[in-house]
């Protein structure tokens, strides 16, 4: 039995230790907001926060999480940066199909938590690992700036 702290709750899952967190979230715990896009760390759709830092859940064996707190898209709105980002996302109307956006929002929230006033190069550095096939990149950039400017 693996004990996980997810979005402030303790969740237990009877899963093998080598199972990536992504599938534990989606298939076992029913937290489907975290998405599967590539399984090889190249798209960012599966991004969660691990101890506040962004991590690709598709490559993260649950057995290695230990005591670190996991935050997913379902819970990120409870953080200051997450709430700001979600609001700015709707304000700028970033989202198209939306499939990549859980990961985008998680990456952006982690960025803002660590770098409250990011410049363009900070945004590139934090967001370039998140693919969006619909091409919402320009609005993502705008929304991050708007979220940074909001109080």
């Amino acid at each position: 039995m693996t004990r996980l702290q997810i979005n402030g709750e303790v969740r237990n899952a009877d899963v093998p230790a080598d199972m990536p967190l992504l599938w534990v979230l989606r298939d076992v715990l029913g937290l489907t907001g975290t998405k599967f896009g590539c399984g090889i760390g190249q798209c960012g759709a599966c991004t969660v926060h691990l101890g506040g830092k962004p991590a690709r859940s598709c490559l993260l064996p649950v057995g290695l999480i230990g005591e670190r707190e996991v935050t997913t898209i379902e819970g990120v709105g409870a953080t200051l940066a997450g709430a700001k980002v979600q609001k700015a996302w709707l304000g700028v109307e970033v989202i198209q199909c939306g499939y990549c956006q859980s990961g985008q929002i998680m990456s952006a929230a982690a960025l803002l938590a660590g770098t409250p006033n990011p410049d363009d190069s900070d945004i590139d550095a934090a967001m370039a690992g998140n693919l969006c096939r619909c091409g919402t990149y320009l609005r993502i950039r705008d929304a991050i700036k708007r979220a940074a400017a909001s109080r």
């Binding site: 962004p54 290695l64 590139d124």
Partner: protein, 456 residues
């Protein structure tokens, strides 16, 4: 008149000069040819195996002594790492066909399943021993020294025949390897006889009474079976191992096999026994990086299958190899890079490399080089990112890697197909500038060459 005598003098000098050159050349060749054997560095006194009083350094670990000959052969075949060379990617094990791209052409490994026509099914015990110890095929032709018979020659008959028994227990596969494509004169197999005479001693392992039984076991495993020197020992003019520089590092198949002498800066002198043991056994030790490429394969197919005592024996043996410094390899940087992308590397340094890194690499390796996912993907402390030739960093970007770890498979995708030579060069330089102790300047042209050498 004067002219003539002058000419005579010149002729004399030429003769003398030629003579000097010849003598020097002969001495040089002799110096090379009469170079030490792989275990000569150890000093001490060797005795015939039969006359050795300690525990038998050959054969299988104690737990397997009672096992069937096929089981013993399986263990030994792992220790001798037969499978990796004799299997194509995703192919049937031991069915051969793997390509080795050399500057002189391409060699293909052969089918060693017991198929009568295309494999070794028709080999008698004597045939098999002749091939393993002396590099002679059943039809009498010489094998290229790609087959490490200069190492296997130290294997006991019993161990070689156990391997044969194991191979013969497998299902025969009908598969003919493509023909080698070596250029002249290397396509002349008869030349190999001369090579064999000069460089393959054709003698079995002899224990060294000046060292512990554990050391002797380690020597047998590392030399007769594991053939570590085939990659890690530099080669001489004739492509034979130069044991004067034993384990000092060499480039093989486009990958750099690093210095594994006891030198503390460029070798493994600074590693703890525990780190060394883990690295040999698992291909990874925290803070020392993760083996990939040929070494990753050697671990997965060979070293990981060894008994713990056998790994410890190899460590003991390796600890006695004399230190040789590799001047171009700086000491490894052990501290993480800054968490901010803005620090660590000057902004103007390989901006395109940074761009590729932030898109394709950061999510696993982080800006610090310490992976948020698994220590196996941590770059800090790895020799490859502290190698200013950037060889292995470029190779792993091109070819990727898959490693089996205690917490499941860990892999890096092969970026070679979709990223240009220039992109790979620039990202390799960025990575080394960010995480290594000395910057690199690998070029697109060099990457193009590495692609070819690494392609199999």
């Amino acid at each position: 008149m004067k002219g003539l005598s002058q000419r005579g003098a010149v002729a004399r000098y030429v003769v003398i000069a030629i003579a000097v050159i010849v003598v020097v050349a002969v001495i040089g060749v002799l110096w090379i040819v009469l170079g030490p054997g792989p275990m000569d560095f150890a000093g001490g006194k060797t005795v015939a195996l039969a006359g050795y009083h300690g525990p038998d350094p050959t054969g299988v670990p104690p737990a397997l002594v009672q096992a069937s000959v096929v089981e013993r052969g399986e263990y030994l075949s792992h220790a001798a790492d037969c499978q990796s060379c004799h299997t194509v990617q995703d192919g049937v094990p031991f069915a051969g066909g793997r390509a080795f791209v050399l500057p002189i052409g391409t060699l293909y490994s052969t089918n060693i399943t017991p198929d009568k026509q295309t494999g070794i099914g028709a080999y008698s015990d004597a045939d098999f021993l002749r091939a393993v110890h002396r590099g002679i095929r059943r039809d009498g032709a010489r094998l290229y020294p790609g087959m490490p018979y200069d190492a296997y020659t130290y294997m006991t008959d019993a161990d070689a025949l156990a391997i044969k028994a194991y191979l013969f227990s497998l299902a025969p596969v009908s598969a003919s390897a493509p023909s080698n494509t070596l250029v002249f004169p290397f396509n002349q197999r008869w030349l190999l006889s001369a090579w064999f005479l000069l460089f393959s001693p054709d003698r079995r392992f002899e224990p060294n009474t000046g060292h512990s039984p554990q050391w002797n076991r380690g020597a047998y495993l590392a030399e007769a079976l594991g053939h570590c020197g085939e990659c890690h020992t530099p080669r001489n003019l004739f492509e034979a191992l130069n044991n004067r520089r034993k384990f000092a590092g060499e480039v093989q198949s486009g990958w750099r096999a690093y210095n594994v002498t006891t030198d503390s800066g460029s070798g493994i002198g600074g590693w703890t026994d525990d780190e060394l043991t883990r690295y040999i056994w698992a291909g990874h030790a925290d803070g020392r990086g993760t083996a990939s490429g040929p070494m990753g394969e050697a671990v997965d197919l060979s070293l990981a299958h060894l008994a713990p005592d056998d790994v410890a024996a190899i460590v003991t043996y390796e600890r006695t190899v004399p230190a040789i410094a590799t001047p171009d390899l700086p000491a490894v940087k052990a501290t993480p890079a800054p968490a901010s992308h803005k620090q660590g590397v000057p902004e103007a340094f390989e901006p395109r490399g940074k761009q590729i890194f932030e898109g394709a690499c950061v999510s696993c390796h982080d800006w610090t080089g310490v992976s948020p996912l698994t220590s196996w993907a941590t770059l800090i402390g790895a020799r490859a990112v502290n190698d200013p030739t950037a060889t292995n960093v470029a190779q792993i970007v091109i070819a990727g890697t898959v490693r089996l770890t205690p917490h499941g498979p860990v892999f890096m995708p092969a970026f070679g197909a979709a990223y240009s030579d220039l992109e790979i060069a620039t990202v390799a330089n960025y990575v080394i500038a960010r995480f290594g102790s000395k910057p690199s300047a690998i070029s697109a042209e060099k990457v193009a060459k590495l692609r070819k050498q690494g392609a199999e």
